[in-house]
């Protein structure tokens, strides 16, 4: 067990080094939420009410892009390149390997949320988070849920060329209807119904409670429930159809 943990840690360290060794990719990774914050901050600069929506919204978007999108893309790439297949032939336990990869994504999610929180405090009049525990709980729940869904989604993506299209067809509509950029309560009913069924809306609700309105965890238990159900489905699908090899045999 300690051995598996040590191997997970070493894999995580390797993934971090690989991430930073591609500095321009790392830069744009962290720059994207800042860019969105800057743009929407400028558009909504007159209205604190709107700023109160986009800061937790973009925090939620960051969680999704660093876990769901990044893992779906990465795993497709690693599978296509034959890296997964090579790892499979070593004694490295699969759990330690995938744990290292997932922990890498989680770290990026944490860094991005921290950047968004800091920018909210410095530039958008949001102040420090009202409820740190709630913030941690929702980031953690969101990360587990969206990371496992990202891994599961990679099974569906046939090859790396198709990966950006596959990821965006999910990512873009979901961030639009989940209220990243505007208060979703103004959206038509059918879109709100769809959004209510999806996890990101509930992650953003929780983050909004933590960052802006200070309604505690107790007020967001139903949100946690929806996220938890998606997480269970995601974990199940992620482990079930996992393919190590591009040529399935």
């Amino acid at each position: 067990m300690t051995d598996a943990l040590a191997l997970t840690w070493h894999q995580y360290r390797l993934e971090r080094r690989m991430f930073w060794r591609n500095p321009s990719a790392a830069f744009f990774n962290f720059f994207l939420p800042l860019l969105f914050l800057g743009l929407f901050g400028a558009i909504f600069s007159g209205s604190q009410k709107n700023l109160d929506v986009i800061v937790p919204g973009i925090a939620g978007m960051s969680v999704m892009s660093t876990t769901f999108s990044a893992l779906a893309m990465n795993l497709t790439f690693l599978r296509e390149q034959g890296v997964l297949k090579r790892m499979r032939g070593t004694p490295l336990p699969s759990g330690a390997y995938l744990g290292g990869i997932a922990a890498n994504a989680v770290t990026n999610a944490a860094i991005q949320v921290a950047i968004v929180v800091l920018a909210g405090r410095l530039f958008f009049g949001i102040g420090w988070p009202r409820d740190w525990i709630e913030l941690v709980v929702f980031v953690a729940a969101g990360v587990v849920c969206l990371a496992s869904l990202g891994v599961a989604y990679s099974h569906v993506i046939p090859n790396f060329d198709a990966a950006p299209a596959y990821v965006n067809i999910v990512f873009l509509p979901v961030i639009f209807i989940s209220g990243v950029f505007y208060d979703a309560s103004n959206a038509p009913q059918f879109l709100r119904d769809i959004a209510q069924a999806l996890p990101l809306t509930h992650i953003i609700d929780g983050l909004s409670g933590a960052l802006v309105n200070g309604k505690g965890l107790g007020d967001h238990l139903s949100d946690l429930l929806v996220i938890g159900l998606w997480a269970l489905a995601g974990i199940r699908l992620a482990t079930r159809g996992f393919s190590w090899d591009q040529r399935r045999a």
Binding site: L7, H10, L14, R17, M18, R21, N22, L78, Q81, G82, V83, K85, R86, R88, G89, T90, P91, L92, P93, W244, D245, A249
Partner: protein, 292 residues
């Protein structure tokens, strides 16, 4: 061969991909410490067979044992004792050569020395280079290094020298021989006859999912009862005759030549080489019709 349990045992192995039977009843054994080669044309079923033994693919039927275990179980203990060079596999683009070998060393209970392995595969000068900057042959050598770092007792090499320049190929042969000297068991596949001849204790010639012949490379030729006798007559024309009884043929030829006063220039008697056997065996039947 020794009486010890074989390192690899394959009995009546079958593998079908949908309707296509890629492996159709293969049997062989590899003794501990032996270098065994699978030689055959593209699509013969070499990789399929090897990857079943490595635990990557599931067999349709048959018995398979690798170091006494069924590779289908994919036990970690077995993977600690086996080194694998796949026909093709990738590596992180931004990892350095030495860093990769160091990382892999952590996976194994008793790894070899990292610098030693870097030297064995001849990548000392590239130790700090990123994988994405390596040439195809250098990447292949990294594959070999990653397979050797765990100090495995059994090593699978699926076309280990494809893409090597002649010097690198000789160096890889030396590596394989030194591994054999250390008592390692090696199963390799190759398209190169000279490689099979240079390295393998025994070779199986595979085609269309079946083994057509097995034996030591030198004896595969002699297993055939035919001899080839070649000479040039006084007019300079080359003659070739195949016979099962070279003594009688030579006697006949030489006495006739003596009587005529001929020289029988360039007279030679040879057994078919591995190449002759290979070409003869693999040319026989038509290729499989293409699958749909």
């Amino acid at each position: 061969m020794s009486t010890a349990a074989p390192a690899i045992l394959v009995r009546d192995l079958h593998k079908a991909y949908g309707d296509h039977e890629a492996v159709r009843g293969i049997d062989f054994e590899v003794a501990a410490g032996e270098v065994f080669g699978l030689l055959g044309p593209n699509g013969a079923g070499k990789t399929t067979t090897v990857e079943i033994l490595e635990g990557y693919r599931t067999r349709t039927s048959g018995i398979v044992s690798v170091l006494g275990q069924d590779p289908r179980q994919r036990s970690r203990h077995l993977r600690e004792r086996v080194g694998i060079v796949l026909q093709s596999s990738g590596i992180y683009r931004h990892i350095r050569v030495r860093e990769a070998i160091e990382q892999w060393a952590r996976f194994y209970p008793a790894p070899r020395d990292v610098d030693e392995v870097v030297a064995i595969v001849g990548l000392e000068e590239k130790a700090d280079a990123l994988a994405r900057t390596l040439s195809g042959g250098q990447l292949r050598r990294l594959d070999l290094g990653l397979a050797l770092i765990g100090d495995p007792e059994l090593i699978f090499l699926d076309e280990p020298t494809t893409g090597f320049d002649p010097a690198a190929r000789r160096a890889a042969w030396d590596t394989v021989r030194s591994l054999q000297d250390l008592g390692k068991t090696i199963l390799l596949t190759t398209h190169y006859l000279d490689e099979a001849q240079a390295l393998c204790d025994r070779v199986a010639i595979v085609k269309d999912g079946r083994i057509l012949a097995v034996g030591p490379p030198a004896e595969l030729g002699s297993g055939s009862s035919r001899y080839r006798v070649v000479w040039r007559d006084d007019a300079g024309e080359l003659h070739e005759r195949e016979t099962e009884n070279p003594t009688a043929l030579l006697h006949q030829l030489t006495s006739a030549a003596l009587a005529r006063g001929d020289a029988l220039r360039d007279l030679s008697v040879s057994r078919p080489t591995l190449e002759d056997i290979y070409l003869e065996l693999t040319a026989g039947t038509e290729q499989e019709p293409a699958r749909d």
